[in-house]
Point group: C2
Chain length 292, copies 2
DNA sequence: GGCATTGATAAACCTAGCTTATGAATGGAT
DNA sequence: ATCCATTCATAAGCTAGGTTTATCAATGCC
């Protein structure tokens, strides 16, 4: 046995509460005629009147009284549930491991300081998160910023420049010309970014590197290897500011190259007004700007 | 802050319960596309997804889980309230005093025997009850059966025939011809029904009765006066079967006249399928037939 | 006695919400 | 491995449900 039309039930609920069709209509943002119609419809469906029409006033019948209680209770539940502010103040971020460990993680504490009510849950994902099937508020992606259905904000370009340890620099003598770099071992010779940098530096003579890659993919690992003096790592200077400032890593050349791609903050277009997301977006972009 | 569209909430409730849009659609008697549309609409309104779309299955998001509980609870309340059998098993009858006291009251016990779950509340009203402003299930009315919006079943014609006590008959000698009736005192000479009977009997010579009416209107009172031997009362033989059978009243002539009107069982057209009303209608009409 | 207010009703209109049709993805059976 | 069944998404198009507008009847109130 199906429920009567919900519009009729809603009209009844308001009318019962006010004992007045006109006031109910005002509350519901419709006309008195519409309420009258809906109540009549409900009575037709139920097969029994729910209101007695007395002079300029309406009174619940017994059947009406029986229904009014549970109905109002039900709508109270719905109103409570659907009008409650979004109290889920957990911001879930899907990040790329490199950006997360070298840039975001050290800074995210400041975001929490600024927004103490927002808890942050960071998750580093190997694959590109699909907002439709996984529950993330925002993600950091690598690419060109074109993802249909998603809004993307550029956080920073994917940049890199050779870095070595002071020990290694001492060992191979001062580097004045980028070409001299080729004498040094590369930590991950197969790193595709290297070509971008060498191209931009105008180095065409590229003898194959003998050494097997020490670390693949994880920039943090490459950095550690570089610090240990194992060779040249092509790293994002924005990620290793501290190491550069403390001298644990040395950036021999000013030239910083990119592969044309960037890191992007992305989230579903439809959630662009979500408070948590707005707050995080503003914070991230400000951090990125301040970083340059 | 208004609720999201109720259709969307309902679709969500079913979908959340089944964790499956197709099953929800089946339950709601609509297509899967409609459920999909409503869920999407809800998510648009809320500004947050309520389901994660995973391969061939859907899962509630945190927001969805937060809403699903209260929503199902609310709909359970509504379903309980609106699909509960009409447990108001009190049949409220508005009757005319004459029919009530002389015919209905003595018989209504049998109705209750036949329908033990139905309580009967009879009320004798001076005015014709308005179903729109007063809470009655059925009424007995006097008239021609034409009341807009009401369904009317003829219970019995308004019939009358002269009745006297045995004492009075003895006193005035045997009555062979209706014209002889005019010698007797009439208990209520102003009773408008008398003319109908006399017309039908072909009596045109009608000397004015000297006696003031003893009782007006209440047939029971007239009957009591007649039994006491105070004169002729024009009464409905159906109402005084016992008195006639026991000889306390005598019906001198077979002729029974009517004023062209009847007693009718009436109730709102819209409630013609109500269980209580159907039961009572069947019973009353069967009683009336058995009575003839 | 006139006015303000309430609910009922008829007519006309419009869009919310449905169906139909189709596609994409994939889990499971053979 | 392949095919099929099943799931949800989406676009297009239609229809009736629900709304507004306009008006009436009734009556409580000043």
């Amino acid at each position: 046995m199906p429920l009567p039309p919900l519009a009729a039930i809603r009209a009844f609920e308001a009318a019962a509460r006010h004992a007045n069709f006109t006031k109910a209509a005002t509350e519901l943002g419709m006309t008195q005629a519409a309420v009258s119609y809906q109540i009549k419809l409900l009575e037709d469906v139920l097969g029994t009147p729910v209101f007695l029409r007395q002079n300029r006033r309406v009174t619940l019948t017994r059947a009406g009284r029986r229904l009014a209680g549970p109905t109002t209770e039900a709508f109270d539940l719905l109103r409570d549930a659907y009008t409650a502010p979004d109290d889920d103040m957990t911001l879930t971020i899907s990040t790329l491991v490199t950006l997360a460990s070298n840039w975001l993680a050290p800074r995210v504490g400041r975001f929490q300081m600024a927004h103490p009510q927002i808890a942050v849950r960071m998750s580093t994902e190997a694959h590109s998160v699909d907002f439709k099937s996984e529950e993330f508020d925002v993600a950091i992606r690598y690419g060109d910023g074109q993802w249909p259905g998603l809004r993307a904000h550029e956080v920073m370009p994917v940049a890199f420049t050779p870095m070595i340890s002071p020990t290694l620099l001492e060992q191979y003598g001062p580097l004045h010309d980028p070409a001299e770099l080729m004498r040094l071992p590369f930590i991950d010779p197969e790193d595709r970014n290297i070509a971008f940098w060498l191209d931009e530096a105008g180095i065409s003579d590229r003898p194959a590197k003998a050494n097997a890659p020490i670390m693949i993919g994880a920039q943090t690992g490459e950095a550690a290897a570089a610090i240990a003096g194992h060779g040249v790592a092509f790293l994002n200077p924005a990620f290793f500011r501290i190491e550069l400032e403390t001298g644990r890593l040395i950036q021999p050349f000013d030239q910083v190259s990119t592969d044309g791609k960037s890191y992007w903050l992305v989230y579903p277009e439809s959630r662009r007004h979500n408070l948590k997301i707005v707050a995080f977006r503003k914070w991230v972009l400000a951090e990125a700007v301040a970083d340059q």
